[in-house]
Amino acid sequence: MTSKDSNQDQELLDRYRRASETDAAAPSDAVRSAILAESRRVAEQLAANQPAPTGSPPSFDVSRPAANDSRWKITAFGTAGAALLAALLIAPRYLERLPTAQNSTVPAAAPAEESKFESQEAAALQENAVPPQKAREQPLDKKNAQPAQNYAAAPLALKPAPAAPPAPTAPSEDSAQNIIAGYPPSVDRAARASQGGALSAGAARAARERDALEPINLQSAAAAGDLAQATLLVDQGAAVDARDTQGRTPLLLAVAQNQLAVVRLLLARGADPNAADNAGVTPLRLAKDRDLRDVAALLERAGAR
């Protein structure tokens, strides 16, 4: 076939197509409608038979839990795991607040470190032998050193304490105050140390760690003036005349801290108003020496001598 023939063929086709476009021949409306109606009917069937799109996850059929067993398990175990984790994180915060036991007769985990620390403080105070205020201002003066009780300031030193090794460093105002106050609960000590007290950062951290681990007993509650805690411990059967290693009763510690409410509680619950510590210091003597008139009056009404 030559190019001329090809061109003539194409011209013929073009002429035919132009002519065909003028032809009004068309299927009847009925046929057209029937075809389109059939197409819609088939399209509905085809659409109904289409599988679910693979990209989207199948719907969650809650009416058939067994069919969704794996997802139920994930949900259930996930929730339980989250709850357990939350419990493990929160529980220790509540546990450490619970009363340890009814062994308030035992001093609250007085570790050797604290005993050593206390003895050092006491020794330093003994060497000071100055009034509390002066002791705070003038930390160390061996010439004026006087024996002192653990919870008593120099004026309260009723008799000389056993010789103690000299303090390696001069006690600060805060530590001296602690000594004069008669071993207040260490709860305060850590806080004071963190506010710039004499304790070094390491000592403060150690104190905080110790305080966090130290169980609360009646002695510490009494000294801290924690009436609610003291009431709880007494209600649970804690011995009201429990003594620590220095023979101090909760009443003595409460008097030393001028905790009038706790003193009233202890006396009401049968605490011995005349129970003296190992050094022979009685609550009434302590109150009078510190000029705690309300406490002294309360003690006297309870029979203190």
């Binding site: 021949a25 009847s28 059939e38 197409s39 659409a47 038979n49």
Partner: protein, 193 residues
């Protein structure tokens, strides 16, 4: 992509997924050409309408299994050709579509003779000086298989290979039919122009 921009094959695939609108686009695109192919072959409007419905019903019902392995128009005109042959056979107007297929490249088979029997004289409109009418009338005067091949090419845009596939004929036979058809059309146009 909008439906109007989709290829025939993609429209069929979308219809196979249940989009009725895709089929409507496809139908509108090929309605006239298919109908003209049928109408000019059978030269009877009622028969053409029947065939038209059968052809498109076959397309619709075959959509679920449609695979675009070939041009949609090839498939469409294959269906149209086969339905047309079936109708002729059913009307006892055909003893063998392929009789003399290879023996007579001009397509003067029994189908040809039966289908156009008594209608070989030029119709009145052929006398018209109007070129379009003359050309269309000339097409109708072609032998059936030549006409079918020519209409597949002219209306459906099918190639020789595609026509051979659609009609079940070999390539050279289709090529000969087309050549004879064009020659006769030129002669008729010259005579009635």
């Amino acid at each position: 992509m909008s439906l109007s921009q989709e290829t025939d094959e993609n429209l069929m695939l979308r219809f196979g997924r249940g989009e009725a609108a895709a089929f409507e686009f496809l139908y509108q695109r090929h309605e006239s050409r298919v109908f003209r192919y049928l109408h000019r072959n059978v030269r009877n409007e009622a028969s053409a309408n029947d065939l038209m419905q059968e052809v498109w019903f076959a397309v619709v019902r075959g959509a679920a299994k449609y695979q675009p392995s070939a041009k949609f128009t090839t498939w469409l005109f294959t269906i149209a050709h086969n339905r047309m042959v079936d109708m002729i056979r059913a009307n006892h107007r055909l003893q063998s579509l392929d009789a003399g297929d290879d023996a007579d490249p001009e397509g003067s088979s029994l189908l040809d003779r039966l289908a156009v029997d008594g209608k070989l004289e030029p119709p009145a409109q052929v006398q018209s000086q109007h070129e379009a009418a003359a050309l269309l009338a000339a097409v109708e005067q072609l032998p059936a298989e030549q006409r079918s091949a020519f209409l597949m090419q002219a209306e459906g845009g099918l190639s020789v290979e595609e026509i051979a596939e659609a009609t079940g004929s070999n390539f050279e036979t289709v090529k000969s039919r087309l050549r004879y058809a064009r020659a006769k059309l030129r002669q008729l146009l010259w005579e009635y122009a």
